[in-house]
């Protein structure tokens, strides 16, 4: 056993150190995106990297997302491992075609001859009081797209580890960064040899009565919710999904077989979101174990609202616990509600 040295880092800095390691370890890794050079990105995730690795490795691109992804495809075909930064969630759509029609499909199209080891970093989610297009959660679009892997992190350690794993993967990975957690601190160990693989969920907290599944920015909220529930005598098993494609259903299934109840929470709109898939798949796998229908606590089926309304849109501790009450058959906000 080697001695490990860990550092206290914010999630943003943990990503930065992950990128630095990836650039240092493999000279085929290149970063491309808007304002990632001198500025270090609008969230400073690439801070200092252009100065350290030069303009050929850390590329300030013209202002065009399709261009960023499309040139990354070409770079990948030349043997590079591009890491694209999309400045904010809501700006990924101009690059959507290149992602779903090219990045996702080239391996299949070429019967495996071409790989697309491209990582697409996307700061996502709300809660930072931003203007429109800066708070969205578009992960479901990509999780529905065959050929892509989709992951998201909730801790500095996972941010660091999973980003390096994503870059090392020969598959394209959509890497969603919970932007409101960029400043959250935690211990980070750069020795990731024994880390949990990219596709696996993590049981954050064990419990017996309700399985609460979430990911990214809401994991912290869910940790608080589980603690509050405990005070209230309710035992929640909390799962941080980490990977949205594939989803580690085995871990969720094992938990639900134990608890008999499932609540899923995400910021993204409910209709056709990740929560629907989890509810559907787990119902298929655990029908005879379920004591109640899986329930979802999610963003509403509206566009992401103006900042002054986001506290309503975003699932919070209270809404999570209200839903936990619902699956437990305890009094809750819908007890007397009629459709």
């Amino acid at each position: 056993m080697t001695t490990t040295t860990t550092t206290q880092l914010t999630l943003g800095k943990a990503l930065n150190s992950g990128l630095r390691r990836a650039l240092a370890d493999d000279d085929r890794v290149v970063l491309i995106g808007e304002d990632i050079g001198a500025l270090g990105g609008v969230f400073r995730v690439t801070d200092g990297l252009q100065a350290e690795f030069g303009e050929t490795r850390v590329i300030d691109s013209p202002l065009a997302e399709s261009g960023i992804i499309g040139t990354a495809v070409g770079l990948a075909m030349r043997g590079f491992r591009p890491v694209c930064e999309i400045q904010f969630d809501g700006f990924i759509y101009p690059g959507f075609d290149q992602i779903v029609a090219q990045v996702a499909k080239l391996h299949y199209r070429t019967r495996g001859h071409v790989s697309m080891p491209i990582t697409i970093r996307v700061p996502y989610g709300g809660g930072i009081g931003a203007v429109e297009h800066h708070s969205e959660s578009p992960e479901s679009y990509f999780a529905h797209t065959a050929g892509l892997r989709v992951v998201t992190c909730s801790t500095p350690q996972d941010a660091h580890t999973m980003l390096r794993q994503a870059i090392a993967s020969d598959d394209p990975v959509l890497f969603f960064e919970p932007k409101r957690r960029y400043w959250a601190k935690g211990e980070v160990d750069e020795d990731i040899a024994d880390a949990l693989p990219l596709g696996k969920a993590r049981v954050v907290r064990e419990g017996t009565q309700v399985t609460l599944v979430t990911y990214g920015p809401l994991v912290a909220t869910a940790i608080d919710a589980a603690a509050a529930a405990e005070d209230d005598g309710v035992s929640i098993e909390l799962i941080d999904l980490r990977s949205l494609s594939p989803i580690d259903f085995d871990t969720v299934e094992a938990s639900v077989r134990k608890t008999g109840r499932l609540v899923i929470s995400h910021e993204a709109q409910q209709h056709g979101g990740i929560g629907a898939e989890i509810a559907a798949s787990i119902t298929e796998r655990c029908f005879n174990w379920l004591e109640a229908a899986p329930a979802r606590v999610t963003g509403f089926d509206t566009p992401y609202p103006p900042a002054s309304l986001e506290e309503h849109f975003l699932p919070d501790l209270d809404r999570m616990l209200d839903t936990v009450d619902r699956v437990l058959g305890r009094p809750n906000s819908l007890s007397n509600w009629e459709a």
Partner: protein, 372 residues
């Protein structure tokens, strides 16, 4: 045979590439073509343009202050771009329609957008805020370049109606790299749409200098699409106004689209969240301060005697009044109702959403009496 560039053919036209009617020191440059388009501008009107610029700069400063004080979530200053925006906006007719980005606060001001409506987006109360049809100006597009296509489509509609109004779209130097802006040029050319492409080249797209987006002058791109272009001093309100009038006139006369590059400078940060010291030098800013759009008009007006102390005082009073109104409007803005999060998603009833709204209403009721 190899066309190295459109500027290397050395014709008279192209040598006169950059149009300036008003030098930084306030002196007038004669320009036979452009002068005729502003020959009717009286001293009084010049003072009015001056007032506009002073007022919008003041709006900008006040909004920046409000942001620093936590009253706005964000603000995108136009500091330095007053002439580009005022000169073009004041050239428009009321029935011309504007599609802008997030930085065209001066254009919105000219259009008569209410100050609280202008700021509601930056306070987080709306995603746009105003009724586009009462001011003939769309709410800002944040997705870079998207609005260029909207303007083109709107102009196609104008043409289909055989009306003689014009659509104008504002975007930055960075936006010219987006597919959408280029597709807009293609569509506008193909359909001879009465649309003006007004690019404020303020030298920067956040931290990226214009050289990342374009190796040639931005104005050189449009002709290849079949769209004539002009390159004007964007800090020169007269040159901007003349160019815009030329473009509008072409469009109204059935001449189709025109592209204007207004060469200007973003003197402030990209937004209040930005730190320009990370990517550009003080010297550069100092250099551009010497080309300030307001100073030069002031100098011109002083030289003609049109800027009396009285006028100055009046303009200052107006700016103060507007700033006061703005501050008051922002601070007293009422928070939107929680359930309004569900409003205006659809124009017609939508079964799920009504269910969700009703469930959330039930949820909110559980807190009634709470201090939440």
């Amino acid at each position: 045979m190899l066309r190295e560039s459109v500027t290397e053919h050395g014709t008279a036209d192209l040598l006169e590439d950059f149009v300036q009617l008003l030098k930084p020191d306030g002196s007038r440059v004669a320009n036979p073509t452009f002068d005729t388009w502003v020959a009717d501008v009286t001293d009084e009107q010049l003072v009015s343009l001056y007032e506009d610029m002073v007022v919008v700069r003041r709006i900008d400063a006040e909004a920046t202050a409000l942001q620093r004080q936590g009253e706005l979530g964000l603000w995108a200053p136009l500091l330095g771009q007053e002439a580009a925006q005022i000169g073009s906006a004041r050239a428009l007719r009321d029935d011309d329609f504007i599609f802008s980005s997030y930085r065209e606060n001066a254009v919105a001001y000219c259009r008569g957008v209410a100050l609280t409506d202008l700021l509601s987006m930056w306070r987080g109360h709306s995603h746009g805020g105003w009724d586009p049809y009462t001011v003939n100006m769309a709410v800002p597009a944040i997705i870079i370049g998207a609005q260029a296509l909207h303007a083109t489509g709107y102009a196609m509609g104008i043409k289909a109606e055989a009306a003689d109004s014009v659509a104008i779209t504002y975007f930055g130097d960075g936006a010219t790299s987006q597919g959408d802006v280029n597709e807009a040029l293609v569509f506008a050319a193909s359909f001879d749409a009465p649309v003006v492409f007004f690019c404020q080249n303020n030298q920067w797209a956040i931290s990226e200098p214009v050289g990342v987006q374009a190796k040639r002058h931005i104005s050189e791109r449009a002709p290849g699409f079949g769209i004539p272009s002009m390159r004007v001093d964007g800090n020169d309100v007269l040159a901007v106004m003349a160019a815009t009038r030329i473009a509008l006139d072409r469009a109204r006369g059935g001449g189709g689209p025109t592209f204007i590059e207004a060469v200007t400078y973003r003197m402030g940060p990209h937004t209040t969240s930005d730190d320009p010291s990370r990517y550009r030098t003080k010297d550069e800013l100092e250099e551009w301060k010497g080309k300030d759009p307001i100073t030069r008009l002031e100098a011109l007006l002083e030289s003609t005697g049109a800027l009396s102390d009285e006028v100055r005082a009046r303009v200052k009073a107006k700016a103060d009044a507007v700033a006061g109104e703005l501050r008051q409007g922002v601070i007293s803005m009422e928070d939107p109702h929680p359930l309004s999060v569900f409003d205006n998603v659809y124009a017609e009833p939508h079964s799920w959403l009504e269910r969700q709204k009703s469930q959330y209403a039930a949820y909110l009721e559980t807190f009634e009496g709470d201090e939440r």
